[in-house]
């Protein structure tokens, strides 16, 4: 991994069309400004881990259990729509 030191207001260029600017440093917070093409996905690193964790949490170990859950879920959504 390349490690660089930058000061407030300084920039980094990634390839031809991505610029990262250190907008402000405030204690343990760094504000970054990023200029990149629309097609470049910019995410907080935690989001990917969150999505994977959510897939694990949502996984149902047996198909039969999934059917039972769907029956319960259907009752639940019907009762909600009946009330509204």
């Amino acid at each position: 991994m390349l490690v660089l030191s930058r000061k407030e207001g300084e920039t980094l260029l990634l390839g031809d069309d991505i610029e990262i600017r250190i907008v402000r440093i405030d204690g343990d917070h760094i504000r970054l400004g990023i200029s990149a093409p629309q097609s470049v996905r910019i995410l907080r690193g935690e989001l990917l881990a969150d999505i994977r964790g959510e897939t694990v949490s949502a996984a149902i170990p047996e198909g039969a259990h999934a059917r039972q859950l769907l029956q319960l879920l259907n009752k639940q959504t019907q009762s909600v729509s009946a009330k509204s």
Partner: protein, 141 residues
Amino acid sequence: MTTTALEDTKILRLPLVPQQLYFAAGLPPFVDARTYRLHVEEDAPAFLRMECIDTELAFVLIDPFAVSGQYRPEFSDKDIEELELQSADKPLVLAIVNLSRGVREATVNLAGPLLINPKNGKGKQVVLVNAAQYSVRQSLT
């Protein structure tokens, strides 16, 4: 409970739903579970059940546009290319429902949906380009 083949049902009102899906990268971290079958239950027509054909692994899915009328997912060019989606193709988008906290606490992952090419059944769990706008745990009820 009766299981109906997707071709036989109109209840989902989705344009074209392949019965078998192939995820080349699995659904991370389940990278070895690649081939799934889709089922719709007559008793729960708003949902789809997706079962892995190789292992005992299943997911409950929902049409995310039915969850939020404001849902405007943006996909990366790389994801579109991987699934061989042509610009004229309308991709199928399905979201994973999490029932692990009980059906009353059901949530939907709108930030990381399944993007599917309805023509060849190829799918991928993607992270939306505009993922920051959507919740990983959007309440369903």
